[in-house]
C-alpha cells in the first residue's frame, strides 16, 4: 500500500481546520492518497456536529457577542469550542483502507493518539468505542464519518481548554443545567496543561506522526495540498459556514434548548420535567452510567428541595420520579 500523505499545517485560520478534510473526503477515490492532516486554529471558533440543531445547542446572541464563527462539520459528535490550545489530527482514508465495523474504525484510527499519550507517560485509553481518556477523564474529542468514498476520523489533544467560553455559548434550558455542566466539565475533562505542562505541542505532533505510522503499519511521508485541493477547500468553507447549512435539521425535531449533554464517556447532564405530588418539577441531573451524581430541582409552586436533592444522589435516573413520590 502507498505511503500516507502527511499535511502538517501548523496554526491556520479556523476555516482551513474544517474545510480541508471535507474537501479531501469529497475528492477521494482509489487514485487519491490516504492523508493525515495535523493543524490547529489560530483563532477560536465553534463547531457543530452534523445532526445537531443550531438553536438547540448554541445561543446565537452569545456566539455573536464573543465574535465566534460557527461551522457545521459533516461528521458526527457534539458541539465543540476549538482554539489554538488544541492539536487536531484528521485521518482521511479511502474507505477500503479502513475497517468495516465502526468500532474497529475507531480502534484503527485512534490507536496512534492513545499510544502517544502513553509514551508521554499518561494512562491514555480508548473507552466506550471512541472516547480517549486519561484516568477516566476526557483529554480529547473525536468524531468521524463517511464522505463519498472517504472514511474520516478526526480528533484533538487538549493542551488547555476554555471552560468558561464553552459553557457560556450553550443554549442551556436553565441556569442549573449550565452550572452543573460547567462543574462536570471541570471534573471530567483534563488537559495537558494539568498533567504534563512541560510537554510541547511540537513534541506531541512528532510523536503522533510516529505513532500513526506504527499503529497503521504504513509509512508516512510529508506532502502538500494541490492547487485543486486548496480551491475545493475554499468552496467547502463557504458551505460549512453558510446559514443554509447551519440551519440543517431545523424542521426535523423540536428546536428547544438541549436537554441532554455528553461531557465525557460516563458523564451526562440531563434536564427533564415531571408532575409529582402537586408540584411541577424541573429536574437537572448529572448522571454517570444512568446513576444520579448530583441533582438540582426547581418547582412550581416553589419549595426547598435541598434535602431531596441529597437523597437522589446514587439513585438510578429512571427511578427519580418514583423516589420523589415516596418522599
Amino acid at each position: 500500500m502507498n505511503p500516507i500523505r502527511l499535511i502538517n499545517l501548523g496554526a491556520v485560520p479556523p476555516w482551513q481546520t474544517q474545510a480541508i478534510y471535507h474537501a479531501l473526503g469529497e475528492r477521494m477515490d482509489e487514485n487519491q492518497p490516504d492523508t493525515i492532516v495535523l493543524c490547529r486554529p489560530n483563532e477560536p471558533y465553534l463547531c457543530l456536529g452534523y445532526h445537531q440543531v443550531f438553536e438547540s445547542i448554541f445561543d446565537p446572541a452569545e456566539c455573536a457577542r464573543r465574535g465566534l464563527p460557527v461551522y457545521r462539520r459533516r461528521l458526527g459528535g457534539g458541539a465543540t469550542y476549538l482554539d489554538g490550545n488544541q492539536i487536531f489530527y484528521q485521518c482521511i482514508f479511502h474507505h477500503t483502507h479502513m475497517p468495516v465495523m465502526l468500532r474497529d474504525i475507531y480502534s484503527f484510527a485512534l490507536a496512534g493518539p492513545v499510544n502517544t499519550l502513553k509514551r508521554i507517560g499518561l494512562n491514555g485509553e480508548l473507552r466506550e468505542t471512541n472516547e480517549i481518556e486519561v484516568d477516566g477523564k476526557r483529554i480529547a474529542g473525536t468524531g468521524g464519518g463517511r464522505i463519498e468514498d472517504a472514511a474520516i476520523v478526526v480528533g484533538n489533544v487538549l493542551f488547555d481548554f476554555d471552560y468558561e467560553a464553552m459553557t457560556a455559548v450553550w443554549q442551556a434550558p436553565n441556569t442549573a443545567f449550565r452550572s452543573l455542566a460547567q462543574k462536570a466539565l471541570h471534573q471530567r475533562v483534563v488537559t495537558m496543561k494539568d498533567l504534563m505542562p512541560n510537554v510541547s505541542m511540537e513534541q506531541v505532533e512528532t510523536m503522533l506522526i510516529e505513532d500513526f505510522a506504527k499503529s497503521m503499519k504504513r509509512e508516512i511521508q510529508p506532502g502538500t495540498l494541490t492547487d485543486e485541493e486548496w480551491q475545493a477547500a475554499e468552496e467547502e468553507a463557504k458551505e460549512l459556514a453558510s446559514s443554509e447549512y447551519l440551519d440543517l435539521h431545523k424542521s426535523d425535531v423540536n428546536s428547544e434548548p438541549m436537554r441532554n449533554l455528553k461531557i465525557s464517556a460516563r458523564a451526562f447532564i440531563r434536564y427533564t420535567e415531571a408532575d409529582v405530588n402537586g408540584f411541577h418539577v424541573r429536574g437537572t441531573f448529572w448522571l454517570s452510567e444512568e446513576i444520579i451524581q448530583e441533582a438540582v430541582l426547581e418547582s412550581a409552586p416553589e419549595r426547598d428541595w435541598k434535602s431531596v436533592e441529597q437523597i437522589l444522589r446514587g439513585v438510578a435516573f429512571k427511578d427519580w420520579q418514583e423516589k420523589l413520590t415516596e418522599i
Binding site: 452534523y50 445532526h51 458526527g76 457534539g78 477500503t96 468495516v100 465495523m101 471512541n130 463517511r146 425535531v253
Partner: protein, 155 residues
C-alpha cells in the same frame, strides 16, 4: 416472515429475511408492495451490525425525487455519520418520522416498524434486477461476511 437467513458476528446473531431485495453495497432493503406498486426501504441487519446503535436519522422530505445511489438521508452512530443511499429511483411518497424521533427503532425493529421511506419507483422492473434477490441471498451474505472479516477483523 419466512426464509430468514441468519448469521453471526461476534457473539450476536442477525437476520436477513428472504422476502425482499437488498442493495449490494449500501445494505438497504427494498420490499415491493404488489397492491400499490410502491417500495418500502429500510436498512438491513448486516449494515446495522457494522454501525451499532443509531443516534440520529435524518430523511429527505416527502416529494423528493431520488435516483438509485443518491442519498435518502443520513445517519449517525457513535459520533460517526454516513449516508443512507437509495437502492432504487423514484419519488419519496412517505417517510417514517418515528425513526427520526427514535433512531433505535431502526436497530430494534429493522424489517418492520424501522422502515425509513416509501418510494414510488420509476423503474422497478429494471432496477430490481440490480439488487440482491432471494435466490442470490445466501451467496451475497457469505461474501459480505468474508469482506467484513478481511476488512474488519470480525470473529
Amino acid at each position: 416472515m419466512s426464509n430468514i437467513q441468519e448469521f453471526k458476528i461476534g457473539a450476536d446473531y442477525y437476520t436477513i429475511p428472504a422476502d425482499r431485495f437488498y442493495g449490494r453495497e449500501d445494505h438497504m432493503w427494498a420490499l415491493y408492495d404488489h397492491a400499490t406498486g410502491n417500495v418500502t426501504i429500510g436498512m438491513d441487519a448486516l449494515g446495522l451490525a457494522a454501525l451499532g446503535d443509531l443516534a440520529y436519522v435524518s430523511l429527505q422530505p416527502v416529494g423528493t425525487t431520488v435516483s438509485r445511489g443518491e442519498t435518502l438521508g443520513t445517519l449517525e452512530a457513535a459520533k460517526m455519520t454516513g449516508d443512507l443511499t437509495s437502492p432504487i429511483s423514484g419519488e419519496i411518497v412517505e417517510r417514517n418520522d418515528l425513526t427520526i424521533r427514535n433512531p433505535a427503532l431502526v436497530n430494534e425493529e429493522t424489517y418492520t416498524n424501522g422502515w425509513l421511506v416509501i418510494i414510488k419507483p420509476s423503474d422497478w422492473e429494471n432496477e430490481s434486477k440490480q439488487l440482491v434477490s432471494t435466490e442470490e441471498l445466501p451467496v451475497w451474505v457469505e461474501s459480505e461476511l468474508t469482506r467484513y472479516r478481511q476488512q474488519g477483523w470480525i470473529d
